[in-house]
Symmetry: C2
Subunit: 340 residues, 2 copies
Amino acid sequence: MIKRAVTIKDLAKKLGVSKSTISRALRDHPNVKEATRVAVQKLAKELNYQPDRLALGLVGHKTYSLGLVVPRIDFPYFSHAVSGAQEIASRAGYQIIICQSNESLETEKAVINTLLANRVDGLMISISIETEEYDHITDLQERGIPFVLFDRVIDCIKAPKVVMDNVDAAFRLVSHLIEQGYRRIAHIAGPRGLLVSEQRIKGYEQALRKYGLEYNPAWVIHSGFRVESGEQTTKQLLELNNRPDAIMAVSDSAAMGAVLAIEDAGLRVPDDIAVAGFNNENFTRFVKPGLTTVSLPMYELGQQAVKMLLRQIEHPDGFKVPHPLTLKSHLIERGSTTRR
Amino acid sequence: MIKRAVTIKDLAKKLGVSKSTISRALRDHPNVKEATRVAVQKLAKELNYQPDRLALGLVGHKTYSLGLVVPRIDFPYFSHAVSGAQEIASRAGYQIIICQSNESLETEKAVINTLLANRVDGLMISISIETEEYDHITDLQERGIPFVLFDRVIDCIKAPKVVMDNVDAAFRLVSHLIEQGYRRIAHIAGPRGLLVSEQRIKGYEQALRKYGLEYNPAWVIHSGFRVESGEQTTKQLLELNNRPDAIMAVSDSAAMGAVLAIEDAGLRVPDDIAVAGFNNENFTRFVKPGLTTVSLPMYELGQQAVKMLLRQIEHPDGFKVPHPLTLKSHLIERGSTTRR
DNA sequence: TTTTGAATTGGGAACGGTTGCATAAAAAAC
DNA sequence: GTTTTTTATGCAACCGTTCCCAATTCAAAA
């Protein structure tokens, strides 16, 4: 059925030499006669010979492929990282096998196993929300498998990591709100247990402390990244006797949910309540008022993760776990937090 | 360095039997003693044995991996398709290797070659904008390699395809505009040469014809999918003496660009000019007025593409190229096209 | 006991490459 | 014209599997 791809054997038969000679001629080994080499390479080109990467991997113990695990690729947040990773990888002659954990620990473990069975040269992992025990990750360390954690990382294990400056980003965002005159600042936080959530809460606290404002636990509510989460949580906040006058949401979508809930309650953004989010999603510049947000360089994060992984793969001897690489985010001030 | 993964040989040595026996025991071949089978499977589980997929692929001529080529994965449009494809594939025991052509024909050819060198069992391809000659695709056919074209397909070659009902979607969208009382309808079309662009223009024409409106070539301008494209093209349209009173853009982003340009010119949507787009991107429901759009089931499109490919791979005998599968889109009417 | 057949198991080729080592051929040195 | 060296090639093993075929075991039948 399938016209079998041309192999080294076919070339050998056609030229009447052994497959070793072909192999050597193709890789420019010094011990082949000029004439032979030229003939082989010409024929190879003619027949469109491509070495079989399976065979190559089997014998060479290297597949030039990297495994990438993200919760979902259809979150723009991650798809940018994936895209950045791909760029660097393919430029370095590696390809990437992308898997989704679907935010499930079970699936995360499964896809990591599949990737290893495919003999990837290394792994890049952004853990799922469910991932609260890390045996499958520490396993990798014990087995000496090169890997990098990125964005959604695990705080308590020492491993190569590339992350966002979440603490700092939240700190700057809250500082901005305070400087705009807002004092009763609430936070729609991310899911409980996720490091990102904790870090943004930490930055939020630090900013309050710096400006001498008190931390009100009732104003920090763990929720989710989605519009609905933001909408619902905001409704709760609006019912407090001591209503906040600003909301920092863990994502732009949640922030958008907050805006919808606020307007639904007959209040106005930013006059009654300011709103800000994270990610600089495309809609933030289209809505009115424009949504203040933090731009996170996810594309670059993907790129850096691959670079860190390749360093590990290509110089395994003497590789030392580097300090986590923290990428700087960028505050984008828009109308939703600007007192008129 | 890397603690070598446990192989069938290791199991054989440990149990004092031959590797053939191990292999058979693991795949529940009838010709193994119950006791042996149990012992082997127990040990395999203990040592966390995973068959090496490279070796499997090499001998079995089947890798259970599919190649997927899209212009970009960080376009939400495609990332949903990719996600849908992944779901079905992994449910069927296949994995997907995703590559981006970056809208370059050169790269498209290159990644297809890489995927073949990796011995994928089949390919799913959404062609790049640049792809105007199809030798690399017809090659696949000649070599008997299973593949499916999806979304961005090639009209003139007979191959398995999964597509959107672009003609019909545009037809319904324009009909809707006409029914809302708009008569001078312009179209910010997609890049020239792309089938999607042609199809949407066709649907646009059909709707005009049905309602007895004349087709004005000056109102159909080839442009791009991005906000800037829409913005710039709209500026051109606004300068015409015979200004349109409605704009159908090829994408929501371009539509958003149109809205920005219109408002920038001191005009109002939808009173002066109506605007509609395609894709049902998240911001369309957040902006004011809400943007009328067409929801395209890209997730399902990815799913169907895999299903069609797997049918081909798993029953190669007697496989006949099916009619292109056309998925139904769904019109979402919002404020941007509703005369008040 | 033998014979016989079925149930198990082992050996080895194959998949498509790479590579060390032996060998043949050609060139250089004597 | 030998011997030695260099250069070019082939052979065979290996990577981790599967699978065909031959060999062994074992119990039941003769």
